[in-house]
Amino acid sequence: MRCAEYCEVVANQPVATDQFEIEIHCPTVARYAQPGQFVQMRVQSGYEPLFSRPFSVFHRKPDRDTFSVVYLVRGTFTQLLAHKQAGDRVFVVGPLGNRFVVAEPQHEKVHVLVAGGVGAPPLYLLAEEMVHHGIAHSNVVVINGARRQDLLVCQGHFAGLGVRLFTATEDGSAGIKGKVTDVLESLREQGDLAPERCQIYACGPTAMLEAVAAFAQQHHVPCQVSLETLMPCGLGVCLGCAVKIRTGDGYDYKRACVDGPIFDAAEVLWR
């Protein structure tokens, strides 16, 4: 089930430096969104910017018929979004795209969720689902990274789930000083990432995803990544979101919006 409709903003609050959480009343997304799926949003009434923008679903509150998204203010659209208030309307299309697939047998795996900056929200939805499905808290490992402490998102949410939470900031202002891959490396050294028992799920900036994918490949750990591209339509028709996916010894262009955004890291041709 998907919808394409005007929805009311319920709340729009800052959660970190230049980052906001917006809660939107939308029964369809609230009910059907899966971890890793996204919505296309539009707040502009004219053509500045022309296209809608994709945002991963963070929280679903089916009892309130709302969902929420955490966004970083980057440019024209997100600036407009930051000005929306409760009662204003947003055009929402979604839920869209595929979802993170929880590796089976799910209760026997160590699930390693690697988040960078505003890549954290969809991984929170995934972690929540895992806990809800009764996966042991100790088997859900979250590595949350950002450049600085004030750019970390969802920390409280992850902590609230009681999962194993590691934090990395590039300047050391929270958690270890370093990158998410440094945490991965130390977990591996401690024997926590045995390939046959482990699955990585990653969402964040492309450079981070590429580093995580390289790590996963080197150590033969299966890894799913959520790719970010421009998404003019989000519905699979414009072909403006193409990503190179390995097929045999060649590659195909897949659409990040409908074939993804989640892909097997081993199949992504990064450049």
């Binding site: 394409a4 910017p49 299309v93 519905l235 072909l239």
Partner: protein
């Protein structure tokens, strides 16, 4: 039931209403089927289809510009056989017209495509996309050269009994010349405009924004230019016209009809609002009622000169 007559006859092609969706902006219909009642559309112009599947251009392929977007998709598509096998059966369930946009680098491929699609159940018309780069002519479009236009249109004409739409390129000095060449070659209907060639540069990195360097400009930015070309062509030829270029709402669509288009196609707007084609359809009906018209055909080409100084 709507209170106004909305069906239109474009030469040999009958449409239940004049609102189409433009090629490359609505996929193969299935992508939108849960959000849009395809039965209500006048017709679907499917993604540009080539003889063999194409991988398309490297990324980035699209970039936003002021009130527009540049695209250089590079005709990524499944090829005509997979289209017939995998995409067409779905579309046959609906009563809207299915128009296959065909593209090729060499003339013979256009002929083969036309022949292959002729008589295939569920295909209601062909739209000849002569606005894509033509390898045999060094990357120049067929559609900018009247002789090449005439030649390729008449070749295709001989291979198909389907209604033949020729999609004109706007990248020409005088679009009436290629319009007449297409009609002389046997076009039943003209569609215009395709995208305008443009580019975008990232000042910071000092690089082109598109991997392909250039792309085609679509969206509201081009509406004044497209409207002008439709008006020009409507005065130069007697075949019906499908107008497009920056249509975002019913008012834009009406403007194209007033300028001389018998039907319209909604393009880039589908990305922004998947339901826009239905909103355009309903908006045109509303407009006709407000204007006291009972038949959509009555407004085609009726734009008048304004009373000078009427603004002030």
């Amino acid at each position: 039931m709507s209170r106004v007559k909305m069906d239109v006859q474009l030469g040999p092609l009958h449409l239940q209403n004049p609102v189409l969706v433009a090629s490359g902006t609505f996929g193969y219909g299935s992508e939108y089927a849960d959000l849009v009642d395809l039965n209500r559309l006048g017709g679907i112009m499917v993604k540009g289809t080539t003889l063999r599947p194409r991988a398309g251009n490297p990324m980035p392929r699209m970039v936003e510009t002021a009130s527009g977007c540049l695209n250089a998709i590079g005709l990524q598509n499944v090829g005509v056989e997979a289209f017939i096998r995998e995409k067409l059966p779905f579309l046959r369930q609906y009563r809207c017209a299915v128009i296959v946009n065909i593209a090729a680098d060499v003339r013979e491929e256009f002929e083969e495509l036309a022949e292959r699609l002729d008589g295939v159940e569920g295909v209601h018309a062909l739209e000849l996309n002569i606005s894509c780069p033509n390898q045999a002519r060094g990357g120049i479009e067929f559609g900018v050269d009247p002789e090449a236009t005439y030649d390729v249109v008449s070749r295709v004409r001989r291979r198909t009994r389907l209604p033949l739409i020729v999609k004109l390129s706007p990248n020409v000095t005088d679009i009436r010349v290629t319009a007449r060449a297409a009609v002389d070659g046997g076009a039943d209907i003209l569609s215009l405009v395709n995208t305008f060639v443009g580019t975008a540069i990232d000042a910071r990195t000092r690089q082109f924004k598109l991997a392909n360097i250039t792309g085609g400009l679509s969206g509201p930015a081009i509406k004044p230019l497209a409207l002008y070309m439709v008006w020009k062509v409507a005065q130069a030829v007697s075949v019906p016209i499908i107008g497009m270029g920056g249509i975002m709402n019913a008012t834009d669509a009406v403007e194209f009809m007033l300028a001389g288009a018998s039907a319209v196609a909604v393009g880039t707007a589908n990305y922004i609002n998947p339901r826009v084609s239905i909103e355009v359809l309903e908006g045109i009906e509303q407009y006709l009622i407000e204007q006291g018209e009972t038949d959509v055909k009555a407004i085609v080409g009726t734009v008048k000169r304004c009373k000078p100084e009427s603004e002030f």
